[in-house]
């Protein structure tokens, strides 16, 4: 029988496993760890890498508990009580503009009144969208989803399109992926079956990303491609600070700032009203930052 302790223990091992795979993929960088404790209960292990190919990456594990702050129970629209939350959260900013930015999160939440759910997702933010790679990425996620429920991929793909969206730019953050939240017995699956799904999402992350890293990490790039990467990182900052619910919420409720903001890129640029040349690959990328593109057709 699974319980919160063994879910947290699994996430801890997942963090270890992903860090080991990423270090191997980078070839040079080593994760530095900060252990922290939360005043209200629990804590975490924040790990950051500044490698050769992964310019700045964070792989965080946390397991926190205690009385639920009112601000949070109101926001989640649930009754007050004691909560437990654990998860792994990752953002990687690569050095090479041809390697995409990636984000992954898997999480579990429960209240002492018996309420529980899983959440998570993986989404990809290429600086330059390469259609073949976007298809590969989505196909991998679809395979994971399809092994658990035929509705998961279409539902969670749409959820990612809607969530990772910069309203003020009328752009998606990248090519999306999957996003899901509050998965519980109402899905018609047991807790064990949902946990199996979440595990498989977590375990798919490193191989999928390392395939993209390996393919592109040594690809030659121009100054102007690097500049475009820095502008796209600026958009990543805009999404995370303006629209990402988790980031805003964490910063507003005394989360550990440095762990929350490990998602920030090492370096980002803003140029007023930058417009890529018509028919350039930058313009093509912008044209593909749209919801509802079917990458698995």
């Amino acid at each position: 029988m699974i319980n919160k302790e063994n879910i947290a223990e699994y996430f801890k091992q997942l963090q270890d496993s992903i860090c080991a795979q990423l270090e191997k993929g980078d070839g040079q960088g080593i994760f530095q760890e900060d252990q922290w404790t939360r005043e209200g209960g629990g804590g975490g292990r924040s790990r950051v890498i500044m490698g050769e190919h992964i310019a700045k990456g964070g792989v965080n594990f946390s397991a926190v508990h205690g009385p639920m702050p009112e601000k949070i129970s109101n926001a989640l629209k649930i009754e007050a009580g004691s909560f437990f939350a654990t998860g792994v959260s990752i953002v990687l900013h690569p050095d090479n503009p041809w390697v995409p930015i990636i984000h992954m999160n898997v999480r579990y939440f429960e209240m002492d009144n018996g309420l529980w759910w899983f959440g998570g997702g993986i989404d990809l933010t290429p600086h330059f969208i390469v259609k073949e790679e976007a298809r590969f990425f989505h196909q991998q996620l679809k395979s994971v989803c399809d092994r658990h429920h035929p509705d998961f991929y279409p539902r969670f793909k749409k959820w990612a399109d809607d969530y990772f969206f910069l309203k003020h730019r009328d752009e998606t953050r990248g090519v999306g992926g999957i996003f899901f939240d509050r998965l519980n017995e109402k899905e018609g699956l047991t807790k064990e079956a949902l946990f199996d799904f979440v595990k498989e999402v977590g375990e798919a992350f490193a191989p999928v990303y390392l395939a993209l890293l390996e393919k592109n990490k040594d690809r030659a790039y121009t100054d102007s491609e690097k500049k475009w990467q820095l502008l796209r990182r600026g958009r990543y900052v805009e999404f995370n600070l303006v629209w990402d619910k988790g980031t805003k919420f964490g910063l507003d409720t005394n989360g550990r700032t440095e762990s929350i903001l490990m998602s920030m890129p090492p370096h980002a640029d803003w140029v007023y009203n930058y417009q890529p040349a018509p028919d350039s690959k930058e313009a093509e990328t912008l044209s593909l930052l749209k919801k509802n593109i079917n990458w698995c057709s």
Copy 2:
């Protein structure tokens, strides 16, 4: 008798005057203008400079009107109706880390039911706080305020301390300045007298900033001082995207994104959990990013 047309006309001239003074102070950069119109009514002139000493600066004028979107009347807690809003808004990011970032805004708002107010302020964000310069800056603002009302400086100085605050960092954005909003006849001053005050705030901006620019623009700096500047610019991004009400509101209500985000720095850096060396000038700056420092004693 002043009315919305001549307030807008004055702000337009203020934009011209400030741009001319900043071009002269920079010595090389020339403002590029974009004129834009707003679907619901009105428009603006966005001007951006990428100069020798002012790395990236924006000086925006706008005068917009029309039926008030419900989202905005709710947020402002006022009755629905037709509105008119005009103002000048400025953010300058200097090249030299010893020159501070500065922000200025003056604005006027009215509803067709007769409600009206002025708002605005100036605040300074040094990368390295030089006490003598912070005192000079506050003394200039105090002189402007004191000519109009003995309470203005202490009230508006505290308002700036409270407003320009990064809760998630427990830091003020910089050394503050003055901030005020919804000033109307309840201040015990006529509309003319309040407009005179706002005019003087607007006109104080360029000479005060140019004094600081002139003093420091050619000061030698090290690579490590430049790096610190980029980290402080990261904090500026965090404030504007996470906490600044005007920015969030504009992005959420279909404002002109490029004009709103002209406040973004040209480049910014994030380093995980960066801690300056004890007793360094960086550490001293952090120790002064606090509310309620009296710079005019």
